[in-house]
């Protein structure tokens, strides 16, 4: 383990970790904003537009992320923003699909009752549909976050910076310690993303939606 630690420090481990985090957080923030807005729009506007966006998102998932990130970097340059662009695009589908599903699947009775009580359309969205959809939206953000951290490693492999750079250098020089000095912190970051956003998902769930046990006694 000492050798791995040495390799981590020798390869600017902290610097690459920080780059990795910056890449991921920027991309996640952008993906959240765009995914949420698009998802909600899809749920609200015509079925055709929704079908298109959802299909594109689903198809996007069948293209290997590694190939997408490599292509984007190849077609632009090996910088921070091109990497962010790739991660951002890959981070959109889970958030978009979950926001779309979350808003679409709010019980129609609840929406009808809300309209019937005199909520304006935006109030129905903001006070009823979004709060009820929040757990799913956050589940999407969590999936996206873990995926972005993992894909950022691939961007590093291609040469865009971040912890993947350390793995890449270890691979080309055949040094297991260096490989692990990149791989271990990547795993820790992914686990952290999972834990942090898993917690956020629980916090975002309104108390009334956490209660599942239903007493049936009148």
């Amino acid at each position: 383990m000492g050798a791995v630690w040495d390799a981590f420090q020798a390869n600017d481990g902290w610097g690459q970790t920080w780059t990795h985090i910056k890449l991921s957080v920027t991309a996640l923030a952008m993906a959240t904003a765009v995914g949420l807005v698009l998802g909600v729009l899809c749920a609200k506007v015509g079925r055709v537009a929704a079908f298109l966006v959802v299909t594109v998102s689903n198809l996007g998932r069948t293209v290997p992320t590694f190939a997408i990130i490599a292509l984007i970097l190849a077609l632009t340059s090996l910088g921070f923003w091109p990497a962010v662009l790739g991660l951002f695009l890959l981070g959109i589908p889970p958030i978009l699909l979950n926001s779309y599903t979350g808003v679409r699947e709010v019980d129609p009775g609840i929406v009808e009752a809300s309209r019937g009580m005199g909520f304006r359309p935006l109030q129905v969205l903001g006070r009823v549909e979004l709060p009820i959809a929040m757990p799913l939206v956050f589940a999407g953000i969590r999936t996206s976050a873990v995926q972005i951290v993992a894909t950022a490693a691939l961007a590093g492999l291609v040469g865009a910076g971040g912890l993947g750079v350390i793995v890449s250098s270890g691979l080309s020089n055949n040094q297991d310690d260096v490989i692990l000095a990149g791989a271990i912190p990547i795993t820790i970051l992914a686990a952290l993303a999972e834990l942090v956003f898993g917690g956020a998902e629980r916090l975002a769930t309104p108390r009334g939606l956490r209660i599942t046990r239903r007493p049936v006694i009148e």
């Binding site: 998932r61 069948t62 293209v63 290997p64 992320t65 590694f66 190939a67 997408i68 490599a70 292509l71 970097l73 190849a74 077609l75 090996l78 873990v146 951290v149 993992a150 894909t151 490693a153 691939l154 492999l157 291609v158 040469g159 993947g164 793995v167 270890g170 691979l171 297991d176 490989i179 692990l180 990149g182 791989a183 271990i184 990547i186 795993t187 992914a190 686990a191 999972e194």
Partner: protein
Amino acid sequence: MAELVKWSWVENNLDDIQQASIEHLQLVGAAMGIAIAVSIPIAILVRRRRIPYIAVNTVSGALYTIPSLAMFAFLLSWFGIGFEPAVIALAVYCLQLIIRNTVVGLRGVSGPVQEAARGMGLTRRQRLLKVELPLALPAIFAGIRLAVVSTVGIATIAVYIGAGGLGVLIVNDGIQRGLFVTPILVGAVIATVMALVFDFLLVLLERALTPWQRARAGTA
């Protein structure tokens, strides 16, 4: 597109492209075979047990969270390079998807159906094979379809531990030659088509195995 894709490269490297595709198919096929063979029995074992299911789900979920590059790196440092460690890594990723979907499917078999099967005198084993598993097939297939699509993608990284596959085109011919776009694009397109074809074949297989689903859709 004419400038983006150098068709001459494609023409000159058809053999390599074919070779890479076949290796990719082998990787995905072997990984899926192992994953299904391991996941479904595990799912059957834990389907009615709360704590074991939580344990299995937590472990497979944690494994699923490990970024693919890190996973390959760990297996590389433990098992060295080659086809087998790559297949293990790919199979590990599928566990979570297949186990969870299978358990959900098995648990979804309705009480009255179970009771009717018991009432007709089917043994536990017969109930599993003739009632629960067939009725869980749609859920199981959903899990396998998700797993195949993600495996085809992740397998492009297997080249780093010397397992070949479409990653050869993307990495050796593309990234390592100054980010040469053509082989990356060829690799991406073939992998995408492969994922879609696998998905489509699984849909066909599922339909063939669950004729009652179609009957229901027909009457609705």
